[in-house]
Symmetry: C2
Subunit: 179 residues, 2 copies
């Protein structure tokens, strides 16, 4: 499995639709259908984004998800951490402590501070996280919109409006449509 | 499993011993014993470093592994790529192509170029790889040595010399001691 998984891909693409449609609240099921992805899988991702304060869910027949923050304030790092939790690049097994010469009793100088190998990887992890922290949802939405024809925006708006209009009482029981 | 695995940890710690002992060739089995790690597991890692031109193996009773390059020329990125191969941070599933509005036939504007979400993650991957590329084995060995007492260096040298002196004809058949 890749370090950054398909859950992040689904989550970010959902958020991009919400950036572009602030006037509409979309359910998890509608977002899944729009993107051709598994509704049950997506239904697990949106509550994590809600818990992290990135989206909010409104109940009722016109309910669904909206962004909880301006898109300029939502970084890729915040989205990834919300969906996957903090994942270290590397889990140090402390090989340095096992040296045969220590005979099972590594001295303080060998075990204090972080292992030098681990330190290098932590620096690389920081560089990666810093790069993800500087990218906002707004910036990416803007780049996507630059290549998107007006006709497509119109078609998606119509698709969404039709879905929202044809919602039934049953689906309005919860805005999240978790199942 | 972490993105950077225990194979890399074992491999880098092996290389650090080789930096500090250029006058000795150590077998895979000796390196495993010195570090208290699995000999069969380590025996799979060293051939990858050899294939990448980072270590070389000499045959014979005094054979074993040595660095094939000056430690200043060996980057963490080269070691990681040698051991694990190039591993992308993220494998794009091209969710953007599946939009319901496309009805199974995504237009060229939607599928040409790299997905904007993927581009952001590729930038973060580059930042991580650049950080790993700037760190050399020599620099890390130097940092490790700064905290290492002379008495430990002496003990390890004695341990290695004893191992090398007591090698049998059987183990000399291959310098790598793969099994």
């Amino acid at each position: 499995m890749a370090y950054i998984t398909v859950s992040v891909e689904y989550g970010i693409h959902c958020l991009l639709w919400l950036v572009d449609n602030p006037q509409r609240s979309l359910s998890s099921r509608e977002l899944a259908e729009l993107q051709g992805v598994s509704p049950s899988f997506l239904a697990k991702i949106l509550p994590r984004l809600e818990k992290a304060g990135i989206v909010k869910a409104n109940e009722g027949i016109r309910g669904g998800y909206r962004l909880a923050l301006p898109a300029e304030k939502i970084s890729f790092l915040a989205i990834i951490d919300a969906i996957e939790g903090y994942k270290p690049l590397f889990e140090c097994q402390e090989v340095r402590q096992r040296c045969a010469v220590f005979d099972g009793a590594p001295p303080d100088w060998a075990i204090s501070d972080t292992c030098s190998v681990h330190k290098v990887i932590l620096q690389a992890e920081k560089a990666m996280r810093d790069a993800l922290a500087t990218q906002t949802l707004a910036a990416v939405a803007s780049r996507v919109n630059r290549i998107t024809p007006d006709s497509f925006i119109h078609d998606v708006s119509s698709w969404m409006d039709k879905k929202i209009e044809t919602r039934t009482i049953r689906t309005s029981k919860t805005a999240r449509n978790k199942t």
